[in-house]
Amino acid sequence: MDLLEPTRYAFYLLFTGDPALWRIIFTSLYCSLAAIALIAPPAVALGFLIAIVSFPGRRALVVFSQALLSFPTVVVGLVIYMLLSRQGPLGFLKLLFTPEAIIIGYMVIAFPVLVVFTLSAVQGADPRVHETARSLGARRLRAAWTTLFEVRFGVMAAVVNSFGRVVSEVGCAIMVGGNIAGLTRNIPTAIALETSKGEFAQGIALGFVLIVLALGVNVALSVPQGEGGMK
């Protein structure tokens, strides 16, 4: 099977500004970036808290959050579908089969990922970071910020990972988005469609497009990540 031709064609469409392809790309980026931007602050904060506050059941909570990483995204999609369905409790919002529904799903999927990896990064930080900040007069919030900044490599890895998860998942996006052309079709659901048509090469070409986009996003995200964390 020839991969070169479809890939070249996909990039050709990309650069000639094929509106259908760009619409798909836009939906992918818009939904995943919006979801991460919305959910990262609370999730990172929670991961930080679990890492530094010790309370009974903390260890169990950590293991449970880790287990949530195994939750299939399509099940997240199913649950959100049932909530957003016209008959569901949130049906009145009319969010089903819209990009916003996908964003909600992505937020749910990204949440445990961000919590677990922020936790892991903060856990690995030198406890003196937080103490030094506090001792120099930083209030709780500011000290937390300083600590997160010291482990920025790990926190950005968490963000990058959650982005990777949502931007490449298909189960939830197809379930709550409906894979509607021109509205909720994004790169993975488009790949699913190509695959279901037997157009495997096209699917792989779209995968390459996604990787190039992800590379761009990661380069952008790696600027704040910096060399600071590198020893």
């Binding site: 016209r86 089903l96 409906g178 894979n179 469609l193 279901s196 048509k197 037997g198």
Partner: protein
């Protein structure tokens, strides 16, 4: 207000949807959002009122859907047929068999490799109907129940050089890739009916009743039927207009 059309991958995969939707949008100035899903899934989301009109091919389920009050009425739109395909070598010798049930009996007798959709789709329902008609229960090691879409099942059958039941449109589109041949076709029991149903506004007051009505009317009208009969895959007609004069 836009119209939400729930339809199955088979319709999209054949390329027909890309012809029908824009034509309808132009004809009636109604924006269509096509939601794609598996057959059971389409009926389920329609049942919950999340789409306005359904276009699928599982007559038995569709009748049940209407009978339960979820749909207004079911209308025939078009049909094609299923074909029994398999490797050119045809180890069970069903080539040219006009009786689909007879062909299935031979496959069963040889315990030949058979890939089944296994997903309660219209195609799967048809397959089960044929086994039932043959008085057989399909259960042997090389009877593979896969739970996948038509194209993937066809390609799997190609990979494994197995038999399978496939609709003609999909087979025409994938013939080259699958490397299988039509071995048995023409039995009237292999007819594949596509129908359209407007979701019942009595159950779901919020549905786009006018839009759904318009779609049902249009697709069963002269214009819609004409488009269907003119649609070709590789020069081959794969769908046949089937709308009876509307009751």
């Amino acid at each position: 207000q836009e119209l939400r059309l729930g339809t199955t991958y088979t319709v999209e995969d054949s390329g027909l949807l890309k012809v029908l939707v824009p034509a309808f949008e132009r004809a009636r100035s109604i924006k269509v959002r096509a939601v794609l899903a598996g057959t059971g899934q389409v009926l389920r989301i329609a049942e919950k009122g999340d789409v306005d009109v359904v276009f699928s091919h599982s007559p038995a389920d569709e009748e049940k859907f209407v009978a339960a009050g979820f749909g207004v009425a079911r209308f025939d739109v078009m049909y094609n047929d299923f074909v029994i395909v398999g490797p050119a070598a045809d180890p069970t010798g069903i080539r040219g068999e006009k009786d689909a049930v007879g062909a299935f009996k031979k496959i069963h007798a040889r315990r030949a490799k058979f890939v089944s959709r296994g997903d309660d789709s219209g195609t799967h329902k048809k397959e089960q109907f044929l086994w039932r008609s043959a008085g057989l229960v399909p259960k042997w090691p090389d009877y593979l129940s896969t739970g996948q879409g038509m194209v993937r099942v066809l390609l799997m059958a190609g990979e494994l050089q197995a038999y399978t039941l496939c609709d003609r449109a999909t087979f025409s589109a994938q013939r080259a890739k699958a490397g299988l041949e039509i071995l048995s076709s023409g039995d009237p029991r292999l007819r594949n009916e596509y129908g359209v149903i407007a979701v019942n506004p009595a159950q779901h007051p919020h549905v786009n009743r006018q839009g759904a009505q318009a779609f049902v009317e249009w697709i069963t009208s002269e214009a819609g039927q004409h488009l269907i009969s003119n649609y070709r895959i590789g020069g081959e007609q794969v769908f046949f207009p089937g709308a009876k004069s509307r009751r």
